[in-house]
Amino acid sequence: MLIETKNLTKRFGGLAAVNNVDFSIEKGRINAIIGPNGAGKSTFFNLISGFHRPTSGTVLFKGIDITKLPANEIAGLGISRTFQTTSLFDQSTVLDNVIVGHRLRTKSNLVDAILRTKRLKREEAACRDKAMEVLDIVGLTESADRMVSSISQEEKKRTAIALALATEPEIIFLDEPAAGINPDETEGLTELIKKLNRSGLTVCLIEHKMHMIMNLADHIMVLNYGEKIAEGTPKEIRGNEAVIKAYLGGSASA
């Protein structure tokens, strides 16, 4: 297991946004989390990525307890994420955004900067190469020099993925990557995720677009009111009464 959560719980005041969730993510697969609005999906991501502290329970990465690590150290271990509301460094170009993404794999410090050491030059080149590499993967090479504020919503989503990839993760968490983009582009995004997965990256995503989830995910967990109500393959989920009642409704094709 790459990631395991045990009895993971998060309370906001009286509300249990995530309640006693046990979940495990196998290496190399595409996992999905679905559930009604407010079910606690984003909160679940926040707990794993160190953005929130759980009220109780543990998060294990390759068997090591990472529950109490700060977000930046978790990223350092190879766990990367995007946000539901796409969050980027707005006042920079696409390339500059992605270059800092690789910063955590470099060691040069203030002294290197002041003395312009060999190490700094080497690492700067490495960051730039990495950035170009991931921009190529997500198909944004052309837009590298544009300001983030001027690119489209869909390009932003891909930039966010590129930024996450630049950290050289083993697993990537995507929070509604296809929200607000059109069907055509959703196709493209699905392909991208598949491609990433084929290259060995483990993926975990939240999505409301069932069409996409059903043909992408290997394994799905369903949350409702913070609790896990079902888990299984897309086929199993599609047929699960509880899930239909709580979430999918009549036409599960939206």
Binding site: F51, E73, L88, V100, G101, R103, L110, D112
Partner: protein, 331 residues
């Protein structure tokens, strides 16, 4: 061959700066310029933190005062050698900066600004009230000028000017190198979005703290140079009035730009000297000027210049390639 390149421009400026003492009609200009350079060093410190890392510190007049008082006390009261005292003064400022930064940097945005405003005020009050150490309102008198280094002495206005100029150039070089490096990118990332920086694996606290300490270092260095240049210091060098001055230099010059601190400091110091005839009513002009600049040139003079330059370049290009180009760039 283009003669008007940026590089040549900078070289010309440096040459001019070095030959200035030979051109200057009287020592007073030299005095003012030296003083501006000292302020500029402190402003570079503030810029590193506020302009690039995004944390507006209003405590830097306090750190300036700590640097100045450290040097003053070490030389006057402990009789330490000037150069040793200069190093110690910077280290003391950094040490205090480190401790304050550790706590202050837990706050953000306006809270940070006001927190540091209060820290600055506390530093000022402590200097003012702790008479046993600082002599309180009486101030420190008789701070020595920089000691000789071998045959080089610092007893003339010109030699002090050169000394400060060299420090200033070193500071600019350091800042330049930092912002162009991965470290600089990291700072800018923190300025743009701290949360995001954290999730891509950047230890924001560590980076903010380094930026903070380095910026206090510059402020402390400036303070120490000031003390040995003016040779008399009182608690008021740590007052909020000084802080507002420094901030004004930064803003008018251009926050988050490399040349801004120098441009702003020189311009405003010279301007305020020439407005001396207005005496206490100087601010009738300065206040609105500051406000207007902030409204219409939010990135100061340096920023406005770059925008203008870019626009001109764009226009020149569009002349060649037609309108399509702009559309492609902005759309």
């Amino acid at each position: 061959m283009k003669i008007l390149t940026k590089r040549n421009g900078i070289i010309a400026l440096i040459v001019f700066a070095f030959s200035f003492p030979y051109i200057a009609q009287n020592d007073y200009y030299l005095h003012m310029l030296t003083l501006s350079f000292i302020w500029a060093i402190a402003v570079y410190g503030i810029n590193l933190l506020s302009g690039y890392t995004g944390y507006l510190s209003l405590a830097h007049a306090g750190f300036f005062a700590i640097g100045a008082y450290s040097l003053g006390l070490l030389t006057v009261k402990a009789g330490m050698n000037f150069w040793l005292a200069l190093i110690c003064a910077c280290l003391i400022t950094c040490a205090i900066g480190f401790l304050i930064g550790l706590i202050a940097l837990r706050t953000k945005e306006h809270f940070f600004a006001i927190y540091t405003l209060c820290v600055g005020y506390i530093i000022y009050l402590v200097i003012d009230k702790w008479e046993g150490l600082t002599e309180g309102v009486r101030g420190l008198i008789g701070i020595p000028a920089p000691g000789n280094i071998g045959p080089v002495t610092f007893d003339t206005a010109a030699s002090q000017y050169y000394l400060v100029l060299i420090f200033l150039l070193a500071v600019i070089l350091i800042v330049y190198r930092i912002i162009r490096s991965l470290t600089g990118r990291t700072y800018i990332a923190i300025r743009n979005s701290e949360d995001l920086a954290q999730t891509i694996g950047i230890s924001t606290m560590k980076n903010k703290l380094t930026a903070f300490v380095l910026s206090t270092f510059f402020a402390g260095l400036a303070g120490a140079l000031y003390a040995s240049f003016i040779r008399f210091i009182g608690p008021d060098i740590g007052s909020t009035a000084i802080m507002f001055d420094l901030l004004m230099y930064l803003l008018v010059g251009g926050i988050g730009t490399l040349s801004g601190p120098l441009v702003g400091t020189l311009l405003l110091v010279i301007l305020s000297q020439n407005l001396q005839f207005l005496q206490e009513y100087r601010m009738l002009i300065f206040g609105p000027l500051l406000t207007v600049i902030i409204i219409f040139y939010p990135r100061g003079i340096a920023g406005a210049f770059f925008d203008w330059q870019r626009k001109r370049k764009d226009n020149a290009l569009s002349g060649v390639r037609g309108e399509l180009h702009i559309k492609a760039e902005e759309g």
